[in-house]
Assembly symmetry: C2
Homo-oligomer: 294 residues x 2
Amino acid sequence: MTADIIDGKAFAAQVRERVGRQVAVLKAESKLTPGLAVVLVGEDPASKVYVRNKGKSTAEAGMKSEEIRLEASATQEEVLEVVTRLNEDPSIHGILVQLPLPKQVDEMAVLDAIDPAKDVDGFHVINTGRQAVGLPAMVPCTPLGCIMMLKDKLGELSGLNAVVVGRSNIVGKPMASLLLAESCTVTIAHSRTKDLPSVCRNADILVAAVGRPEMIRGDWVKPGATVIDVGINRIEKDDGKTKLVGDVCFSEAVEIAGAITPVPGGVGPMTIACLLANTVTAACRQAGIEEPNP
Amino acid sequence: MTADIIDGKAFAAQVRERVGRQVAVLKAESKLTPGLAVVLVGEDPASKVYVRNKGKSTAEAGMKSEEIRLEASATQEEVLEVVTRLNEDPSIHGILVQLPLPKQVDEMAVLDAIDPAKDVDGFHVINTGRQAVGLPAMVPCTPLGCIMMLKDKLGELSGLNAVVVGRSNIVGKPMASLLLAESCTVTIAHSRTKDLPSVCRNADILVAAVGRPEMIRGDWVKPGATVIDVGINRIEKDDGKTKLVGDVCFSEAVEIAGAITPVPGGVGPMTIACLLANTVTAACRQAGIEEPNP
């Protein structure tokens, strides 16, 4: 048997189109243009690519896009001033501060300063807490994208055994929390877990988010399981060139799983799509109107 | 083999004595008397007993104890006014609003109004979020008591398989989060879990917090496991009298487990002890001094 390949690129395109339709409805019916501001501090090349892509996708969806660039030498006070201004700007509904920040800037203090209602990255502790207890919250984009793909593929998730490998604050923990909210039986495994292969073999849903190339082998996968690979690792091939691989050994797992996300082209494209979706959600909540369902 | 019985009453007494010594040090060396305020709205008999016990234990530990009683007919505004006054009172370091509140009062709004630094119940979403991401937080008393008993019994918890049965916001979820912070491999099971007995049988640490009398049977317990029973259920005996039982069938599990908490006399007594410990923690953090370790 060969697994279904979950096409994250195609699914993300659907999500972005849906967001575009929502934005059109909001503009026409509520005179509301959702606005997303991205703050980039310094010249990190990867961050610059991300920020450019985010700005482009935001504009394509019909939203207002604002990009604020600060020098790598920016002080914490300068970054906080920008955040405060954006918090107060009624045309901005989502604020994203691109990480990592330069050493002289305290990331936690900056994230903490973002109005939780505008925290489209879902990293503010108030959103973490609200999501944990089941209140409406802004949810981190990557785990949100994973849940959307799982529900699209499997329908109802209730009662399924989900294993999340990795316990980071930006993926593993919120992923586990979202799966629990879907009534999965959730196990969080990590570097201290004993006999990780057999823990993984118990999973109907296996989410890998550890950042170790191809760590999860084919025989760790339960036959027919749905495998979501959040890892993006660049490794060197025999010919000296590099390629991107996930945390799962795709060539092995694809023979065992029922469905699997590839790397690249799986979870990755969903992250920006979910950022746009979160911005619409944030704008509607701030305006006190229901999210359109076009 | 018969399991060790974990004597929660004796352990709680040790914790209370330790808190008493800490309070003595704080008074002598820092002129700081930790203060705990308990707010009781209405005449619920069980709540009145709890509040009385809390006040008594607080005073016994040498702390300031304040009890505020409001009529069952109190408005939300009246309750919020009390909370605001206590937030601003520098002699009060911990605020506990006894639940449940009368119907006309929005519990979430009241809990949300408590200064997170004084939230000794650990129910504020900011504390939930801070605990989830690994920042210093006020932690709910019952799961904190369970972790203290587990560490006392087992020492290092890292790498152990922990299964939490139940996913309430006040016990199950924070318990899972605390066990994860101790580097356990954590599974959260609940009413939708398939084949709960075999999930439980995988647990080195089994925490039952479902509120269903004696649901967890002896043959669900892995031989030698440590069983923490958070349930307190009153059931009718054959002779028509009632007795308290846990969520675990104690008479069966005691033959299989390595260690087990009884009901009553297990987790229960730890809750007030942890409330006192949390009040000392809160007072020290508010004063910006280190917690004494006498």
